[in-house]
């Protein structure tokens, strides 16, 4: 499967190049563009990013695998990041996790999502859902379907 950036993304890349001292800086922005465009990052996309960033493909791959938010394979289920770090744990994230694990979802154990004051919390499609209870988790998921 070959990969090409959408025209919109190509324009973004050109605009971003002017904002950085080196094209290599565009590695993370390009990876994000691919993630949103395709839902995951394929090896073909990595080679394409390598051209735009003037970086060896292997290096782009090394970078993509370092950061936990990039998917390197297509996702067939909805991804739900559930925070399991201390403040959330103290406020009951274990029950939320146990409840979510029973569902047909791709559950990711996230580290602190920066919503410790409104724990427990989960993130779906870039949005934090806070003050979770078993009841409102079900409502949130239903509303998203």
């Amino acid at each position: 499967m070959s990969f090409t950036f959408s025209n919109e993304n190509l324009l973004k890349i050109e605009a971003l190049k002017k904002r950085y001292p080196s094209p290599k800086a565009l590695t993370l922005p390009c990876l994000w563009m691919v993630e949103y465009q395709e839902g995951y990052i394929s090896m073909d996309a990595i080679e394409e990013i390598a051209i735009h960033t003037d970086t060896p493909p292997m290096e782009v791959y090394r970078v993509a695998t370092f950061y936990t938010m990039f998917h390197l394979e297509p996702q067939d289920k909805r991804t739900v990041q559930v925070c399991k770090t201390l403040s959330c744990k103290l406020c009951g994230s274990d029950e939320i996790l146990a409840h979510l694990n029973k569902k047909d979802l791709n559950i990711v154990h996230a580290e602190c999502l920066g919503s410790c004051g409104t724990a427990p919390v989960m993130q779906i499609d870039d949005v934090n859902y806070e003050n979770l209870t078993i009841e409102n988790v079900d409502e949130i998921l239903k509303a998203l379907k």
Partner: protein, 408 residues
Amino acid sequence: MRECKIVSRKFDLKNSFTLTVSQAHGGYKTLKKLKEYSPVEIIHIIKDANLRGKGGGGAPVAGKWELMPQDQEHDKPSFLAVNCDESEPGTFKDRQIISKDPHLLIEGILITCYAIGAKHAYIYIRGEYHQYQKILQAAIDEAYEAGLLDACDITIHRGAGAYICGEKSALLESMEGKRGHPRLKPKQKEPEWYFGHPTLVNNVETISTVPFIVENGADAYRAYGTEQSPGTLLFAMSGHVEKPGVYEAEFGTSMMEYINHYGGGIKNGKRLKALIPGGVSCGVLTAEEVENLTLDYEALRSIGSSLGTGGMIIMDEDTCMVSVLKNILEFYHEESCGQCTPCREGTGWVDKLVGKILDKRGSKEDIDKLLEVADTMNGKTICVFAPSVSKVIVSFIERFRDEFEEAL
């Protein structure tokens, strides 16, 4: 307790994140005043105010600014990198600034760039903050349209899930399109480097404090806080507390008064058992230690802890300290960048050992082994991540050893 709102002044206004509301309440007022001062004079004001970095370390801010090359003819332009990685567990203050008063940050960036002679600022934001990044980007767009960014560009750079990228040199590696691996520290004092350009890294809250100081003068800032820890901080509470959240207070405030006044005390009327003062890397304290403690760098240091980011994690009498340590070590194990062997191997090892104790499969030797591994992680690594893990382990065993022994 004295209310003092320096950074959080506009937080509760309706539509506080818009340019109109910001300007109606004094936003960008300092930009006119800025012309009265030379860059060096601005640095002096910050120095007189003794502003200290609010990203966790508390280092004097002016000292870092002074390292930036002052001659504007320098062949390599300088940069500012604003640290909005905010990944230290228990910390959620920078997020309040970028979502409630992003124009305050932008104003601070403009002053800072003027002082250090930078024409471009990057804001490195953690990938999980996309929802707040959009608010910040909208504010930057507004500022561009209003002609406020004619002299200085601002670009948001999004991370993608790696705690270690909050460490300033790892942040710059990440911004260069690499893995977020901290760099070896230079022997002498020098700026940070971004593609070979001198670069200043400061925390979001630090930069957002600058407008107040430039507008009102160093003495106005020093009117709050203590002699050595002047001013205020966006302290925060989470865990077993009635009203968790972020509330600005001056340094030197009594910790228990803060928790009772703003936090409404311990949840469900329980007793306090333990507290982590400013993000998990600070180590744990007992209720007795906290009783007469004040919220400033010196007080925390004097009991062998640190103020960190000011994000307190509160634990009630029913909390199992073994499982708390296990939870923290899982975090470290997950987040070690893997460059240094003692850290990469050590974080996995200690996590496993405490897991064993928690599952009641441990022996007395395991506690000794835990302390032994902790010791090997202290002082032999590229960054202070591993030494922090070591310190945290020791703080738990020293204070709650009986609980670990009971679990055997």
